[in-house]
């Protein structure tokens, strides 16, 4: 095959990418490779190894060289123009990937296309998914535990940072004294968590950085009592209210002073708290029976339990079933010894 012909065939297959963006370069390599091109990729025009005339397709994107895309294209065009009189010469096509700030002079034999950004957008989406997964991963590792909401409120103490988690929604609060400071919520309403008797929570100590949120006057805050009131007062389903109380613990004992117990009841409550205080170890069912199973009474029982006004205990507490493991022989040795002291 004559030398000249060989060179022409070679040239028709070669493309040069002068692009710093590796992902874009790989995409173009893939596209051009699929069309039969041998693709060379450099991120600096000074790295181009072959004569520019031997490429039939040149793509100039953002690169590490010192000349602008337009100046580089002009330099290539000058070279092309000098050789264009030669027989059988096929002019290389030059494409500039144009940013908004790039000025590509009109009239030049250059194809200008908007700098592709779809790959960046796709990676932004992927990165967001990745971040969400990382957040979820972090959540799962951050001492979240599944709790019953009612029992959890009954157990919480002041001066804590608490995060409630339902699905991927979080409610972050700080309790200072008897006041709740709402730091963050993914829920439509703070009270939405009351719709989830079982959810995940994490408890942390308050850090100095949290105190700025607490002192910020724009941070929404509410008393613990009002929060529980608002959360419970709209629950009308008996089963939902019951699900906020511990299972198998239905004996009520008022442990707070009378004034605190009265103050915890929903406004307009018909529950006679003094009667309840005088009837220790009374079952929830007995209380509800007295009030004709009025849902408002059950609401108040749930509220009082969550606010630690009442204790709930098991019917079996007084029976002789103990959490003690001791061999009978050992026990009798102990009894005999004490009897003989």
């Amino acid at each position: 095959m004559p030398f000249k012909m060989q060179k022409i065939l070679d040239r028709t297959k070669k493309a040069c990418l002068i692009i710093e963006d590796e992902i874009l370069a790989r995409i173009l390599q893939y596209l051009l490779g699929g069309e039969g091109f041998v693709v060379e990729w450099v991120n600096d025009p000074r790295q181009i190894k072959d004569d520019i005339l031997n490429y039939s397709f040149i793509v100039i994107g953002n690169h590490k060289g010192i000349t602008t895309k337009s100046k580089l294209a002009e330099a290539f065009l000058d070279q092309i123009k000098t050789n264009s009189l030669e027989r059988n010469f096929i002019k290389p096509s030059i494409v500039i990937l144009k940013d908004e700030s790039d000025i590509v002079p009109n009239g030049l034999d250059i194809i200008s296309i908007t700098y592709p950004s779809f790959h960046k957008e796709i990676f932004t989406v992927i990165s967001n998914i990745d971040n969400k997964m990382k957040v979820l991963e972090k959540i799962s590792l951050d001492n979240f535990k599944e709790v019953n909401l009612g029992e959890f409120f009954n157990s919480i103490r002041s001066n804590q940072k608490i995060t409630f988690l339902v699905g991927n929604k979080q409610l972050k609060i700080i309790i200072i004294g008897s006041e709740i400071n709402f730091l963050h919520s993914d829920f439509d309403s703070y009270y939405d968590i009351f719709n989830y008797p079982n959810l995940y929570v994490s408890q942390d100590i308050i850090e100095i950085s949290d105190l700025s949120n607490v002192s910020n006057e724009n941070t929404p805050r509410l008393s613990l009592k009002n929060f529980v009131w608002e959360g419970i007062k709209n629950i009308t389903q008996k089963e939902q209210l019951i699900s906020l109380l511990p299972k198998d613990r239905n004996i009520v004992n008022v442990k707070a002073p009378l004034y605190a117990a009265k103050g915890a009841l929903l406004p307009g409550s018909n529950l006679d708290i003094e009667w309840l205080m005088n009837n220790s170890d009374i079952s929830i069912d007995k209380i509800l029976r007295r009030y004709n199973y009025d849902n408002r009474v059950l609401q108040n029982i749930v509220i009082m339990y969550m606010l630690r006004i009442i204790d709930l205990s098991s019917d079996q507490d007084a029976s002789v079933k103990f959490d003690v493991k001791i061999k009978k022989g050992v026990l009798h040795k102990i009894l005999d010894k004490i009897r003989g002291l």
Binding site: F322, V324, K337, I338
Partner: protein, 176 residues
């Protein structure tokens, strides 16, 4: 060596330290400090700030540790520490003090939340003239579960202190 525990609890001035002194075979290790709360200072000058400790050796392999927990609310955390290998709970109440008696159930409940132990309610200082009459006692202890034995003792009388401990431990023996 197996170590078991008997826990003695009750409100301030209910006689826990004396109770241990009466039954322990060693001089009890006490951590009494001057009372700082003004309201309590009129009642007694010293109170247990950490824990009182005594022992009863059963044989070379078994020993009983008796712990009296501080009466003040702020020391409730000690319950968590004591519950391991605990056999019984003795709840003391000062028979001359309505507050002390009405608080017995509260102390019982607090401990039972951590571990269900055989318990006895023991009213101390039964020899004092200003003891509360039975009818009032009944009202003050109305929330005491019926299965929990109630006994009046002098916490300086070894036989009566033994009786209180036995009443608690014998409940374990009654279990199937």
């Amino acid at each position: 060596m197996a170590i078991y525990k008997i826990i003695v609890t009750g409100s301030f001035n209910s006689g826990k330290t004396e109770f241990i002194k009466c039954i322990s075979e060693i001089d009890p290790i006490t951590t009494d400090k001057p009372v700082t709360e003004k309201s309590l200072k009129d009642i007694k000058n010293f109170t247990t700030v950490a824990i009182d400790f005594g022992t009863i050796t059963i044989d070379k392999d078994i020993i009983i540790h008796i712990y009296a927990t501080p009466g003040q609310e702020r020391f409730k955390f000690i319950y968590d520490i004591l519950e391991k290998n605990a056999l019984a709970l003795i709840v003391l109440g000062d028979i001359t003090s309505k507050d002390s008696i009405s608080n017995m159930y509260k102390y019982y409940r607090e401990f039972m939340k951590i571990k269900r132990l055989p318990a006895v309610f023991a009213l101390t200082k039964k020899d004092l003239p200003n003891r509360i009459e039975d009818k009032t006692l009944e009202q003050l202890l109305s929330n005491k579960p019926k299965a929990i034995p109630l006994i009046k003792i002098s916490n300086k009388n070894k036989e009566e202190v033994k009786q209180a401990i036995l009443l608690a431990l014998e409940q374990l023996a009654e279990e199937d």
